[in-house]
């Protein structure tokens, strides 16, 4: 399997995505914003369509649209102009509708578009790998440096705000990182399923973790394992990688739930 270059590229890209998605998703899940990734994904879909329409690389336009959508929803939420789920609904449906209209205008309802929606092993190029590695590692380093601050806001957002911690800026940063993750991950996992890779490993890790730190690290491990398992199955069974990866992450949840139950009976 790894003698083919496209699989080496897919695994290398997937390793970055598998680490980054749960690391960012952890801070969304803990703030009860598990579904925001879906909304951002639909904005990224509109970005892909814009790319086709303008003749620009869809990865770049999707990345920009995802980050802008994520920051926008956080702005709406923080200003209480729309409650959390209303802001999400606005993003979700506007992104989807804009994507459909723009993709249709660009004449791009074709196989290429489907590869962005559901992921495709064949679409990752060396240039994509460089982009994903540079931005993805940048995202991971940012989380590493600011982990204590981000975790502190998760523990007690109001207390942090009172004490002068820049909570709004940290929340915008998390939203921006979520947009970045979705933009970078869509070729491997697909726009419609990337949110699952941000959430399911975190939920799975939470069943057996004993601290926030262990929860994040376990989730990242489950994320990478799910990507590698999903890509392997997709290669041999000729399946879309996005579905296989997310099913692997769902299976990880089943395993950790069993471990949790076994621990409770001891």
């Amino acid at each position: 399997m790894l003698e083919t270059e496209f699989m080496r590229l897919a695994f290398a890209t997937g390793a970055v995505v598998g680490l980054l998605a749960p690391a960012v998703g952890f801070f969304l899940v803990q703030r009860n914003m598990s579904l925001i990734g879906d909304g951002i994904g639909h904005t990224a879909f509109a970005g892909v369509a814009v790319g086709y329409l303008l003749g620009v690389a869809p990865v770049v336009t999707a990345l920009l649209a995802a980050v802008a959508g994520a920051v926008g929803v956080e702005w709406l939420r923080s200003r209480r102009r729309a409650a959390g789920d209303q802001a999400l609904a606005l993003l979700f449906y506007t992104g989807l509708a804009a994507g459909v209209v723009l993709a249709s205008s660009a004449g791009a309802f074709n196989v290429d578009l489907f590869s962005f929606l559901f992921g495709s092993i064949l679409t990752v190029t060396r240039g994509d790998l460089v982009l994903v590695t540079v931005l993805g590692v940048g995202g991971l380093v940012t989380i590493g440096l600011l982990y204590r601050a981000l975790a502190g806001v998760v523990v007690d957002e109001e207390g942090a705000r009172v004490a002068g911690v820049p909570v709004a800026a940290l929340n915008v940063l998390v939203a921006g990182l979520a947009g970045l993750t979705i933009g970078l991950s869509m070729q491997i996992v697909g726009i419609l399923l990337i949110a699952a890779l941000m959430v399911l490993p975190v939920i799975a890790a939470g069943r057996v973790a004993w601290s926030m730190r262990s929860s994040v690290l376990l989730a990242m491990g489950i994320g990478v394992a799910s990507v590698f398992a999903g890509l392997t199955v997709a290669y041999y069974a000729d399946l879309p990688p996005g579905g296989a990866i997310v099913l692997a992450a769902a299976a990880a949840f089943g395993v950790t739930s069993l471990l949790e139950a076994a621990r409770a009976h001891r």
């Binding site: 998760v154 523990v155 009172v162 601290s211």
Partner: protein, 246 residues
């Protein structure tokens, strides 16, 4: 840089606030909390206690009147690192696993850099705060495995780890049994004396602190009582803590 001791820690002057037009939550509130005081703010649910706290801390803007912290406008207070806040338990934290140490460490965020791990000095302060509330043996235990009273002690330790000059606790004993409430109140009194922290204790149940605080403020749309608890009319005492007055 020390805080300006010439001004009260909290100062509200003729403050009024409403969430909707012609439905005031608070009207004409005057309140000054001097440095070092331990003040209980009590009153029925919906009486405006939490709104008063939000105004005092600069989290909400009064429709009229002024709110100051150490002489500065509360909304633009420049020394927020000197403020500690323990919010209502219902608003606290994460659903996921988190240890006592992780909770208390979050209290050091406002002091120093946000970047990188805690420095050695910060870790020592966190350990000391955990020890002060008697949770050293449980420092690395998940918060979810602890009783309600122990969880609340962890959040009090978090607030003290920030080395605040002014500490505000909003319903700190909600959902905790009466015995644990009394223990928490005694612990709080000891810590704030040791560390000379001005303390505002906000609760609809004030019985636990009735014999500890120097001053009680009752809020029902405005301030209806402000004085030593012993001068409170008998019918307003908290019946759930009758022993406090025995």
């Amino acid at each position: 840089m020390p805080l300006d001791a010439r001004h009260p820690a909290i100062e509200l002057e003729d403050v009024s606030f409403s969430y909707r037009p012609r439905q005031p939550v608070l009207t004409g509130v005057d309140l000054a909390v001097e440095e070092g005081e331990f003040v209980a703010v009590a009153g029925p649910n919906g009486g405006g206690k939490t709104t008063l706290v939000r105004l005092a801390l600069g989290l909400a803007r009064p429709q009229s009147g002024t709110a100051r912290l150490y002489g500065e406008p509360a909304r633009s207070f420049s020394r927020r690192d000197a403020l500690g806040y323990v919010p209502q338990r219902a608003q606290l934290g994460t659903q996921g696993p988190v240890t006592v140490r992780e909770v208390v460490s979050a209290g050091r965020l406002a002091r120093g850099s946000l970047l990188g791990p805690l420095r050695r000095g910060d870790r020592a302060i966190v350990d000391e705060a955990i020890a002060d509330v008697g949770l050293t043996a449980l420092a690395d235990a998940p918060l979810g495995n602890l009783s309600g009273g122990q969880q609340q002690r962890a959040f009090i330790a978090k607030a003290f780890a920030g080395e605040p000059s002014l500490l505000v606790l909003d319903e700190p004993t909600a959902g905790v049994d009466a015995e644990s409430q009394d223990a928490l109140a005694r612990l709080l009194d000891r810590l704030r004396r040791d560390r000379r922290v001005t303390t505002l204790y906000v609760s609809h149940e004030f019985g636990a602190v009735e014999d500890i605080v120097e001053r009680l403020v009752l809020v029902r749309g405005g301030i209806v009582f402000d004085g030593p608890p012993r001068t409170l009319p008998a019918e307003w005492h908290d019946p759930s803590h009758a022993h406090a007055r025995d």
